[in-house]
Amino acid sequence: MKRTLHIALCLLIACQHSQAAVFRVGKNQPYQTIRQAIASAGRGDTVLVAQGLYLEKNISITKPLCLMGENYPILDGENRFEIISVRSDEVTIRGFRLEHCGVSSLQDIAAIKIYGCHRVLILSNILKADFFGIYVQSGVRCRIENNQLKASGRSEQQSGNGIHCWKCDSMEIINNRISGHRDGIYFEFVTNSVIWRNISSRNIRYGLHFMFSHNDAYISNIFQNNGAGVSVMFTHGVKMFNNFFEDNWGDGSFGLLLKEISDSYVIGNKFTGNTSGIFMEGSSRIEVSSNEFRANGWAIKIQASCLDNVISHNNFLSNTFDIGTNGSLVLNTFNGNYWDRYEGYDLNRDRIGDVPYHPVSLFSMVVEKNPPAMILFRSLMTSLLDKTEKLMPSLTPENLKDDSPYMKPFKL
């Protein structure tokens, strides 16, 4: 009874909200500029903007409002201004097309910038040719959903990040498409947040750049063809589930770079066609399981500075090198993976190979020490060296092995 009363009360409040006033902006509407409409609106009112081009320099929102566009009205920053500044909690911005915000090397000018607010919603906007796209500074429980961000920056200095979050908590970044920015999504000091179902492609630097952001999750995103892939650094408690990392090419480019990460999970991701699928440095206690590594240069490069990581139940398929490392110290566990290069046998038919698999080839160690040696790859000389090394390991780390390699690939 008490519960029904509670729900009824909630509904009542919701109804009251929906009765909030609507201020229309447009050519033949009561208000000509968005600025006037915002000034007249009260707390919780809606400002509805009709189709058209609006050159309003900077729009500052200082009270809880819903700013909505009909058929994507264009707000143009004339390459000089920050288009919308949100300085109040509970603001919703929906359905705009934001173009040409200012470019500056002193300030971080963004199309939409949120200054220390709670519960701001940025929904279904189109951002084109902006410096920073959506910039959240000290935001809490904000949601950025269904936006399309497209920039055509040429150099790192001349372009900003797509979705930039700094010192935030409990953010939700859902279903955005970002391309052509410096970093697609940038997280620094952001905690307890989720990045879900975004597509970040062809950005100049990273698809996702992640630093000092503890206990976040990113799930089911696609990171494609970014300058340097995805980089996750100096963080603990990150959950990386079911993402796609594809076609990140170049020496300094990684599907996923894990630097100084601990107590995290990399599960169910697909790494395809990267120069290095995962590059791990100084990382510890990470579970890497149920991932698929296909057609990468190196599936995983794991530096000797990594500790207590568990790599299990992954599929390694047609990679040029399975594992690369830079020393003989091995403090990580490789267990129960499927390696398509495994040549062992299974006599007792328990689907687990009877001899261990050594995923590091001599030649990958040689290339690690001396990159130009790559020119000899797949020559008779190097294949012979690899074969001898397999029989009598001398240079490759002897302990880096999978004791129970699977005979058949996992169905992932």
Binding site: W249, G250, D251, S253, G273, N274, T275, A295, N296, G297, W298, S318, T320, F321, V366, V367, K369, N370, P371, P372, A373, M374, I375, L376, F377, R378, S379, L380, M381, T382, S383, L384
Partner: protein, 255 residues
């Protein structure tokens, strides 16, 4: 000249060894493509065949053939024919028949099972390597009069190109580890047609790994059309230069 070529080609195509070579290539390529679960893995296994077996067969077979047709060559020389023409027809005949054997044995299966850029490059490289090693064999055969010695030289040459050269390159690489060696490597690779062919195939096959730093240098050179053309030109030089040298030697040779 055409008559001689025709005679050589029919003579070789009737030869049981070439038939066996064709059958062997065909058997290997078909089984490789049918056993492996995907075509790219099949191509990988074939890569070794093309880079090692094809040059080996070409160089040994050509050397032996030339020694065996010493009497035929003497007969031709006694006719009013230019020595140059006789030698070039011999070369063309050998090259054509071994090319046909390669195309029938490996070329067709590759084009059927993997008709992509990698497959095409592989077939092209196989053809070029066949001709190059016929040309090298001609040179080896004309320089030594003794048959056993000539075949020995051919085997050594094959060993050098497919194994020793790479060992030397690796040695040089580690000796000069502190220096930027990418450009030097590019030049060095031009001195071995097998390496050149392998790199051109690898650029199609293992692009991701080769896109690492040094890979990028290779990609910049060989990946561009002009670089690819340059590499092909170097390979053509590998055909022309030994052949030309052998023609000169043959013209002056006391039979």
């Amino acid at each position: 000249m055409n008559k001689i070529i025709k005679y050589v080609v029919t003579d070789i195509l009737r030869n049981k060894i070439v038939l066996a070579y064709t059958a062997f290539l065909l058997a290997i390529s078909l089984s490789v493509f049918n056993l492996e679960d995907n075509a790219s893995k099949g191509l990988l296994s074939l890569l070794n065949i093309i880079l090692f077996i094809v040059p080996l067969v070409c160089i040994i077979f050509s050397t032996i053939y030339i020694y065996n047709s010493a009497e035929f060559i003497e007969l031709l020389v006694s006719q009013p024919l230019q020595r140059k023409k006789i030698w070039i027809s011999l070369f063309s005949g050998l090259a054509t028949s071994l090319l046909v054997a390669f195309l029938a044995g490996a070329g067709i299966p590759i084009l059927i099972y993997a008709p992509n850029a990698t497959g095409l490059t592989m077939v092209a490289m196989g053809c070029l390597l066949s001709i190059i090693f016929v040309s090298v064999a001609m040179l080896a055969a004309v320089t030594t009069r003794d048959k056993a010695k000539g075949i020995g030289v051919s085997v050594l040459l094959w060993l050098y190109f497919s194994l020793l050269f790479d060992g030397l390159v690796l040695f040089v690489l580690f000796q000069f580890q502190e220096y930027p060696m990418e450009k030097a490597m590019l030049v060095l690779s031009g001195f071995n047609p097998i390496d050149l062919g392998r790199i051109l195939i690898l650029l199609k096959m293992d692009v991701s790994a080769l896109m690492g730093y040094t890979g990028a240098v290779f990609k910049d050179v060989f990946g561009t059309t002009s670089g690819f053309a340059l590499a092909l030109l170097v390979m053509v030089l590998w055909v022309v230069f030994p052949a030309w040298l052998s023609v000169r030697k043959f013209s002056k040779k006391d039979l």
